[in-house]
């Protein structure tokens, strides 16, 4: 656990009187898939929004260390800077594509900052300098690569809003990858997918991890996906961490079973008894 890309320490997020996340600490290992699971309303998406700058945490620290050794305190950066310099990309629980733009355009927008530099902040682009044209061709090539990975190459010139739901999910992942992140945050990528689409997505994530040295932070309800691809799992309940470990450890943790995975009523009582017995001495 020495090479952590993301270290979250004592993260607390309050909305008025509601404590959405309370004193959460965990680490995400570089090159690994770390899953955050928990029942509805456990504060998973709030953690994501704190990490990606959409919320400013009430307390705590979110530290990100890039491969180059550069370290950023994410709670102090605005959201677009987190994406640009700290190399964190994310997807959303409800798909947020640019529906009226084509699939290819979606991927080009994701490379905005690199293209902006290449076009000398528009000046060179207006004048038609060759440097920009080369950069744009390179961007199209990168987009083509990710379209191929996501199995969307034939749909490149179709509007993103016309794609079936599963393809939109994959496109959102591809778009995030076009931004060249080192940490990819996926908010329920398999939500609403059928088993076939879910398997396609798992394969895409496996490839991303294997071939691109990208660390993944994952929120997911689909336990088959979580157990299959995660290296580490953090379990939240009512904003607090109740377990943290490998999939096997988490699966056998009685508190997780009681809080989340769901068991028969008599078993819940048995677990509660066991917990009380364990807590008493």
């Amino acid at each position: 656990m020495n090479d952590a890309i993301l270290t979250v320490e004592h993260l607390t997020m309050r909305f008025g009187g509601v404590v959405a996340v309370s004193d959460l600490s965990f680490q995400a290992r570089r090159g690994a898939i770390t899953a955050i699971i928990g029942p509805n309303g456990a504060g998973k998406t709030t953690v994501f929004n704190c990490i990606t700058g959409f919320y400013r945490p009430t307390e705590g620290m979110v530290r990100l260390r890039l491969r180059s050794g550069e370290t950023f305190l994410l709670e102090r950066l605005p959201d677009h800077e987190i994406a640009r310099i700290a190399k964190v990309a994310r997807t959303f629980q409800s798909v947020r594509l640019f529906a009226g733009m084509t699939v290819l355009e979606n991927l080009m927008v994701a490379q905005h900052n690199a293209l902006m530099r290449a076009s000398l902040w528009t000046v060179g682009g207006v004048l038609g300098l060759p440097g920009f044209r080369a950069a744009r061709d390179a961007a199209v090539e990168r987009a083509r690569y990710w379209l191929d990975k996501a199995g969307l190459l034939e749909r490149a010139d179709d509007p993103a809003g016309d794609l079936p739901y599963g393809a939109q999910r994959r496109l959102e992942v591809a778009r995030a990858m076009c931004a060249e992140p080192q940490l990819l945050c996926l908010d329920e990528p398999a939500a609403g997918l059928n088993p076939r689409e879910s398997a396609d997505l798992t394969a895409l994530l496996d490839q991303i991890r294997a071939q691109h040295a990208v660390s993944i932070l994952l929120i997911e309800h689909d336990m088959s996906v979580v157990m299959e691809i995660s290296d580490a799992i953090v379990v939240l309940d009512y904003g607090e961490k109740i377990a943290d470990g490998t999939p096997a450890q988490v699966r056998d943790d009685p508190r997780v079973i009681a809080a989340y995975l769901g068991v028969a009523d008599e078993e819940v009582e048995a677990v509660e008894h066991a917990l009380q017995a364990g807590a008493a001495p």
Partner: protein
Amino acid sequence: MSAGGDAARPAPTQAAPPRVAPSRLGHALRDALLMALVALALFGPLLGLKTVPLTTGLALESRWHLVAAAVAIVFAGRFLLRYLVWRADRPAGTAARPAASAPRGWFVKALTPALLLTALAWPLLPTTDRYLLDIGILILTYTMLAWGLNVVVGLAGLLDLGYVAFYAVGAYSYALLAQHFGWSFWICLPLAGILTAFAGILLGFPVLRLRGDYLAIVTLAFGEIIRLILINWYEFTGGPNGISGIPRPSFFGLPFTAGEGGFAAAFGLEHSPLHRIVFLYYVVLALALVTLAFTVRLRRLPVGMAWEALREDEIACRSLGINTRNTKLTAFAIGAMFGGFAGSFFATRQGFISPESFVFMESALILAIVVLGGLGSQIGIAIAALVMIGGIELLRNLAWLKAVFGPDFDPSLYRMLLFGLAMVTIMVWKPRGLVSARMPSIQLAQRKAVGAHLVGQGRG
């Protein structure tokens, strides 16, 4: 259940079809009657009673024949609409249809070059006189303004109701620079553009956090603030008197005057006041084409793509590392700059400007051109400008209506009414503007239009 009951059951279904028609007629009649009653309540006092000033006071004059006519029109119109047009058995109108008006063959392909050629040749046509040239200049000015506003509203999706403020800033910048420093049009034009771009950024900063309706209200207020400043800052802007004697443009140093050293003398032509108008026409045509080329180019650059992405989803933009603040400000600045160019041109053409030229009606007109043309569509906007501005001018020649309605009829009163009707008609026929499909700015294999139902209209 008895056999008689079974036999009786089919009877209502057989009787049903003939019953449908009278019930539809009845519905329509009842609805029309209801509307006629509403019309009676409305028009009764409004049309029916008129106060006539007498020497000793007021008298009431009743005009019940007018009320009867109005109510009859409402009744008949509503009945016909209800009975013939709004039929429940038909699919619900145009709104349900995904209006992906894909380019239709040669007509659309030929349209752009045809319009361009006409614009280029317009002053040379033998039928073109001073009046038609002036209309041409007016149409091109509004086309240019609408293309400028299109950057803000159509591409970036930021609803700006105060665009005329930038038109005013450009016009006053040019007028004041030219008067105080005596610089020529070609030096003042870029300076006025830069000043106006700054005005755009000035507006942009306070409204960065606003979206949709709130943004529209603040920009509307901004337009009024600029106008009020122009009226009240008497020492600087001349207040309501405006600025007169603004230098006319010269042909790259040659003034359009009769006699030695003038444009006509230098080229061995006979002096004609039309020379300057033709020159102005080509200046505004060039400015409009520059606006067009620049915006088309920007749309393919990362900044233009970011504008469109901003219109589609601002949060997704930020998650991809796009600085939405700067992106919005560039949209405001560049849109404003073209407004400033158009304003400078307006000032030099008129030779006189006053705050009266920059009222909200102008903003509304420019926005109407953009919306009617189709948000984001350059050719649609050009056609809309042609129809709207040309249409308004055509409606000035309504004298023939006197032949229909008698000599007491004042056609100029009905100009805006007809104009409004035309706008409503276009919006019913094409709810997303004349050219509603969006062309992608980059493609891998094949360029396909994006249907209007997918394209965002900008909420932020």
